[in-house]
Assembly symmetry: C2
Homo-oligomer: 427 residues x 2
């Protein structure tokens, strides 16, 4: 079968998958955890081959760390599956129950989305986590992982699929795609794929967004800001900024630009610059910033603030007030996560009401923008779009809903003609 045919079959299976009970889904998750354990040696062996190949290809040590699937990752995966099974069923929740008229009951009930394509980075634990999220939310999923862990992905997928099928879930509820060319094929299947979730580099996500008619949920850029207001607690500001830049610089929620109120810039910036430089951070900014602290690069064009570094580089800019900070963030940011550091409730209120981002924070690190840290149990990605889910996307973001009406022979005519009237009573 071609990919198109296989995915079309999957689409036909989607309603069956949607109807699987929570008990059966949880049994399948437990079966996956057991099967991963039972096949640990084969999985570790395949992973060692991937790692050896990566080393041969001189892949960076920091990346190789993410490719590894060892005892620790296995046990974290199994614990993640256990936690997922313990979460309430995201499907079948009644989010509206309204009597329209005597004996005419309207309910809004959550449903899976249907067929989801997830394209993710080379991280074997991501495959397990994403498969788990899709199963728990009753979705069929087409999974494409990064090529650097191709062998690990293949064994993991085959173990997972066997476990799921043995546990009685529809046979073709999961599909693995391994060739890179198949991504382009997948992107064309807008009749059968309901949603694409791409994870990876900006360029890759942007490529996906621009080359499919299927709705895409995700984010290309993570250009996060921290604005240090004139009323900020400057002592608290330094560790927050250090955390947001250096705790994991490659993360999309790491800060890329610091905005500082002009009234405190000459006092605060030198202290901040010392701390950042001590942590190995390279600083850059426009001429005004370069006049206050030593910078490694000077911007000649404001467009340079439109950049995601993803490493130990940080842009700095001085602004006149909270309004200029908000305007800069809305113009040069990526609507991901932006924070204000201030003791002023007024400045904070203005920031919260006008910054147009998925996450708007006060007095804490931008790095909190994450499904686990929000208590969602897990996340399938972070969305900077405003439709459907925004911010970290957990189980709830993998659901849709439909309206059910139970009647007793009611017709619209009487309501249209006015001989009957709706009374709308929420139950």
């Amino acid at each position: 079968m071609t990919l198109r045919e296989t995915v079309h079959e999957m689409k036909r299976t989607a309603p069956q998958m949607a109807a699987v009970t929570d008990r059966d889904k949880n049994r399948a998750l437990a079966a996956i955890a057991d099967a991963l354990d039972a096949h640990r040696d084969e999985i570790f062996a395949e992973n060692r081959t991937d790692l050896a190949l990566a080393e041969e290809n001189h892949v960076k040590a920091s990346v190789i760390k993410r490719l590894r699937f060892d005892e620790g990752k296995l046990s974290a995966c199994r614990e993640g599956l256990r936690q997922l099974a313990a979460l309430p069923d995201p499907v079948g929740r009644v989010t509206l129950c309204r009597e329209m008229d005597e004996g005419l009951l309207l309910k809004r009930v959550t449903t899976p989305i249907g067929v989801i394509g997830v394209i993710f980075e080379a991280r074997p634990d991501a495959l397990v986590q994403i498969a788990g999220l899709c199963i728990k939310s009753g979705n069929c999923a087409v999974l494409k992982g990064g090529k650097e862990t191709a062998r690990t992905n293949t064994i993991l997928f085959s173990v997972i699929r066997q476990a799921v099928t043995d546990a009685g879930l529809p046979e073709n509820c999961l599909l693995q795609v391994s060739a890179h060319e198949e991504i382009d094929e997948l992107l064309k299947l807008d009749n059968d794929v309901d949603l694409i979730i791409p994870r990876g580099s900006n360029a890759f996500v942007r490529h996906i967004m621009e080359n499919t008619k299927i709705p895409v949920m995700g984010h290309a850029d993570g250009i996060c800001h921290i604005y240090v207001d004139r009323d900020a607690d400057q002592d608290a500001a330094v560790p927050i900024i250090l955390d947001a830049k250096t705790q994991y610089p490659a993360a999309c929620n790491a800060v890329e630009t610091i905005l500082v109120h002009r009234a405190i810039a000459s006092e605060f910036l030198p202290i901040l610059a010392d701390a950042l430089r001590g942590a190995g951070v390279s600083l850059r900014g426009d001429r005004e910033v370069a006049g206050l602290i030593e910078t490694d690069a000077v911007f000649e064009d404001a467009e340079e603030y439109r950049k995601e570094y993803g490493d130990l580089t940080l842009a700095i800019k001085v602004v006149g007030d909270v309004n200029e900070a908000i305007d800069h963030i809305n113009t040069y940011g990526s609507h991901h996560t932006d924070a204000i550091l201030t003791r002023s409730d007024e400045a904070a209120a203005r920031f919260f009401s006008l910054v147009d981002s998925a996450g708007v924070y006060r007095n804490c690190s931008t790095r909190f923008s994450d499904g686990f840290r929000y208590g969602f149990g897990a996340e399938v990605g972070i969305s900077t779009g405003k439709l459907h889910a925004r911010g970290p996307v957990g189980l709830e973001g993998l659901t849709s809903y439909r309206y059910h009406i139970e009647g007793h022979g009611q017709c619209v005519r009487e309501f249209a003609e006015g001989t009957k009237a709706f009374h709308f009573r929420d139950l």
Copy 2:
């Protein structure tokens, strides 16, 4: 200014519009109602010109009825605006409030979407309703109405915009587009327009969906089904089907195909056919149907069931059981609204669990699928997509959300290193 520049300005205004208080939005809605009343004579005069032109062009009487903007429509519009103002603010609602740790508070707060483009049919009252919905939900809107009411649209829009500006809302929160070519221009503005809502013919909506990178919310087809189960109350089934087909055949929620269980087909179909023919409905179906009742056309190909008539034409098919009915609906339908008529809770449960449509009904007409009838106050359209809003889209469907965190200097490092742990307490 070009359309691109104007819409870019609007995008910059969107955060201001999002921050307008409910009181100010309601004052603007009241101002619109007053202004429409004050300018009634000019509006009616422009509408008479539109109507005269339509008659000259031999537009059908049924369509001309929709173009008319008279005393009755004006008063309905004013009442609609009053009701909209009385609804709770859809923006700023806290839908999640969770303490992540001591002094670290996460909130999910509803927000407007931003800039919405609405392209709608020639119905002057639709312009007023859509402008009202966008204002109440804090969105900026680009409005493009049908050309047959161009003069009425222009005067209505200018009255509305003046009223809104006088009431203190951001000046460029509303924009009217009148030339048809500007639609294609609008569809290219994916950097500044967050959502397109197209209403109109199937071909038109499909054209929009296929020619923009902006997310589109709406429906192309409305191929709704009613399945008459073997356990249906046959006496109640006839009036329901008559209502669903004849009460307003042009509506997207009118029924297009009746599926009948084989066990009752020879008894029920002749009775149904008599009633439908008495109401002027033309019947068609495959050879099996043609063997049971007189039909005006016989299908040689099942693909013919994939058709929306929108008039007094109805397709009929005999099925073996509820599963075949479900399969037919999921295959040939448009995921809009489908109903089962049955006294069997078991058949109904199966239908509700497996039919993949925005509306799934039991024992009532498909025509209930409508924002007013659901008690949403008004609707901006009906969506058959599964992302964001599904089914009738009211104020809630015009909102997104964002996450706010208020902290006291918290960094991620301590949580990542395990010296601190989240306790997730929902408040």
